[in-house]
Symmetry: C4
Subunit: 318 residues, 4 copies
Amino acid sequence: MEPMNNETFDPGLTQMFGGTVRRFIDKDGSFNVHRKDRLLQNLHVFQYLIGLSWPSFVGFVILSYLLVNAVFALLYLIAGIEHLQGAQAGTLGEAFLSAFFFSVQTLTTVGYGSIVPTGVETNLLASLEAMTGVMGFAFGAGLLYGRFSRPSARLLFSEKVLIAPYQDGLSLQFRIANQRTNAITDLEAKVLLMTVETFSGGQHRRKYDTLTLERPAVYFLPLTWTVVHPIDEASPFHGKTPEELAALQAELLILVKGFDDTFSQMVHVRYSYRYDEILWGAKFKPAFHIDGRGDLILDLDKISDLESVPLREGSRNP
Amino acid sequence: MEPMNNETFDPGLTQMFGGTVRRFIDKDGSFNVHRKDRLLQNLHVFQYLIGLSWPSFVGFVILSYLLVNAVFALLYLIAGIEHLQGAQAGTLGEAFLSAFFFSVQTLTTVGYGSIVPTGVETNLLASLEAMTGVMGFAFGAGLLYGRFSRPSARLLFSEKVLIAPYQDGLSLQFRIANQRTNAITDLEAKVLLMTVETFSGGQHRRKYDTLTLERPAVYFLPLTWTVVHPIDEASPFHGKTPEELAALQAELLILVKGFDDTFSQMVHVRYSYRYDEILWGAKFKPAFHIDGRGDLILDLDKISDLESVPLREGSRNP
Amino acid sequence: MEPMNNETFDPGLTQMFGGTVRRFIDKDGSFNVHRKDRLLQNLHVFQYLIGLSWPSFVGFVILSYLLVNAVFALLYLIAGIEHLQGAQAGTLGEAFLSAFFFSVQTLTTVGYGSIVPTGVETNLLASLEAMTGVMGFAFGAGLLYGRFSRPSARLLFSEKVLIAPYQDGLSLQFRIANQRTNAITDLEAKVLLMTVETFSGGQHRRKYDTLTLERPAVYFLPLTWTVVHPIDEASPFHGKTPEELAALQAELLILVKGFDDTFSQMVHVRYSYRYDEILWGAKFKPAFHIDGRGDLILDLDKISDLESVPLREGSRNP
Amino acid sequence: MEPMNNETFDPGLTQMFGGTVRRFIDKDGSFNVHRKDRLLQNLHVFQYLIGLSWPSFVGFVILSYLLVNAVFALLYLIAGIEHLQGAQAGTLGEAFLSAFFFSVQTLTTVGYGSIVPTGVETNLLASLEAMTGVMGFAFGAGLLYGRFSRPSARLLFSEKVLIAPYQDGLSLQFRIANQRTNAITDLEAKVLLMTVETFSGGQHRRKYDTLTLERPAVYFLPLTWTVVHPIDEASPFHGKTPEELAALQAELLILVKGFDDTFSQMVHVRYSYRYDEILWGAKFKPAFHIDGRGDLILDLDKISDLESVPLREGSRNP
């Protein structure tokens, strides 16, 4: 079984590997892939800081601020506390605190003038610190803008994928809505089914099937979009039982692209459902209504609302 | 009537809902959809502030500024007004004002030095406030840039959609121009007709038809662009009277995409005309002329200028 | 002659207008269209300031700075010069100057403290000015970034369009190079010929022909790109003399798109050649060579270098 | 041999030039093209500063800071050191240092107030310097943001291109991985082979062939992507020996495009392999494994790991 030899479809996740993967795409859209980073150069500070959660980011800013001021306070002490005119220097602790507060006043350029540098060394240190402060906060401004202006489409996905009646047979469907208030237009969805074939001898091979969708693209998403895959004879779901899907470690990989009007950017959202998130015999209830004034009201709480529907015997295992 | 069962075109606005919608796309291009937001997390502060009108935004900035300074003034009072050297503290009001102005001088990093902090607590508060100020204004810089750099294509649409003679029959046409001076290139227009079918029993179903356009794309828009839909036999307007369009709650949904040269961004503009904004028997008059020097002069005031033209009997109800 | 009636190609420049247009696209790529702007709201401050030339922009910044400081100086005088402690107030001129310099120290947040505000009104004014300053400079930061980060592809076009021998006939060619050092990739060129047909009665009609190009797209542009239109029997240049092109007011409209690697943006460049910029019987000489180390050396000065080539009699008027 | 005369494929690198080029694309993706820039206007300061390495950039910032302060210090000396109240002016050196530190305090807007300007000229200079400082640091903020927000896809390429067995014949393959932790989606690869034909008389002509790829695009790249070119009868590698490729100065030009999720930008990566980086008879070993918890572990160190495989006699020179 030669990897080169195969011409089946692969979305870039490779096909050959032993063992059982927990899940491929996590619920936040990231890949369940960890890396041994070999080089420090692979760390990209800005991207790292942009990707931090807000609490971590605020913590990082405060710690950096304290650290930089502490370092400069020490440097001022080394240059001589007597060159900080106006500083209190009764004890070493007092001297450090004075130097620290002078450092704050310099780094932030607040410069009250209650403590002022004298002498060449201390003045040079203060010159360096003022420049550091200004550039550091320029860095912070860029960082904040970078954090905020990241495309931030958040799509809300229904909790479950449903197997519902469809025409004379069945269909697989899930529902999405825009969690934010910005307009997303020109949406496209791709849905892949990943399964694992196990060969005699315990070898595994990933298989990727693109599911055909009733409507793979919509122009806008002000309400909800029910993405429907009809389970016809060409579908890899055709005739499969829940137990068979579990044995195949089935995982639906979902890719939604769209254009975010607020930031004028393309946004890509990834999501996945595992075999144990498929519900047989249910359909979605509407998540919106029209009020008395003729306005449409969308209720995001109802995105996963569903009702049972019987699946005909024949349609399940044709 | 099973929603799954239908394969008609839907641009993402769903088809099944009872009741009469006032209009689907408002004149500013937003969807007439309101949301019950269930989670505070759906609020995206930055997007919200970027989307505010200018008066609201300026109000927000000033109120935040006053609030932050008032809070810090209170904290300085709690830490003890005697630790603000130079502050006037005759009455509580005076003390608060002094603390407030000291707070301003710290937050903005203006730091005159007429009032200076003493003592560890007050100095720590001032250190925190100076950092808050610097980061807050970094945030403000990002916000202002975000507000200004949003793609800002503003297209001017003619007030009415016209039904005009076209070859041997009729056509529907509206006219657009670029309201701004930046160059927009590679424009594409899509026009959908939304109508409501009413079934026996009072059930409604939205129907969406894409109108074929004589020229669905242009390279640039320095002057005006008359978008023309020939009403041939395949057109959903074929043989319709104004009264029939009103009964169908007809609404034209218009999508124009283009590339904004100034910010190097794609821009998307939405617009809509309702059945009562269609004018029968008129055509547009030119909105530009050539002056004596051979330069083209565009007059945006004339974008809706029209003149009556008779519609032949036969062409209206063929 | 009904404008609706025609189905000829129009890139968005409209076809019907009397009079002679000087030229349609100016040498800087802007359209020769002037607008009567009817509404002040059409002015978009940020776009305007981003589009200003550098001298105008610097002038604008300095004038704004002087103006804002002068206004605040007047306000401080109105509030009472005696509330600016440390100000010199011998004469009104001295008082104004002191107030002006205090204003500068507040607006820029430099706040030496040699002049300090006293009293509630003056302190409030200073609070307002410090906020104004900080927000104003935040605006300036965004503006500067906006000016600098605009896609800045500058393509250098050869001075003339050449009519050169090509296989058994003729071709029209011009040459472009990247004037900047950033990499531009995935370039596409479109070339339109605009001519004016004159009808009996003096009516004019613009005609737009897309010229087929030997190679309408290239992957990169590290050297030069000679864009070639073979003048075959389908070409609108086929059999035309220079005099005929002048009579038709021929203008070549050129659109080049590409991807700018430095700013990760699409860039669009427009250019035009008029009939009097076409040179018959010449071809370009190479604008680069390989040096002794095997490196390629491009000389932008040679972009328009050409040499005469005879055009066969038969090929000119076949 | 007329350049116009040929219709072979050219990706924009031109075909006609004598001499031997060291290599066309350098290992950092830049083109091996140097330019004689004729005009100072071709220098785009912002792009230049954004492209500088970090050490050079920091050096540039510090030098500019020193230079600006030195220039203003001189101006203050010319205006008269006696107008800097609080400055030490025992010797000229002391006066310059005082003026320099006052300049720092003004440029960074730290403004302690230990030295304050008096007199109109010195106050005007200080006003100018404060404005310069604020705008300069606004410039710096934009610059830092520009440096950081550049799309920064770094793809790791395998050290060598391999000639490996493939079905009944051979294939050429190289492997790439994402060096950064940001998600890259919708990747596309193009591979060109550049060879030099030498004609009698020593003339050269570049030839560009697009290599067909087994899988020219993938949706994502969380692990590795082995790009495979099957060497079938249509391949320019068909029947070529290593010696023949060296004689042809063969160079593989590789273009990879993708969408960077973190910055929501298209990224373009260029790379090249020369004939002496092709390894005959080897295939790649997997660079990742699944750990005990079912997570995938990618090891970038193994990107170039390979093992020898014999090439059948017949497959090499069919």
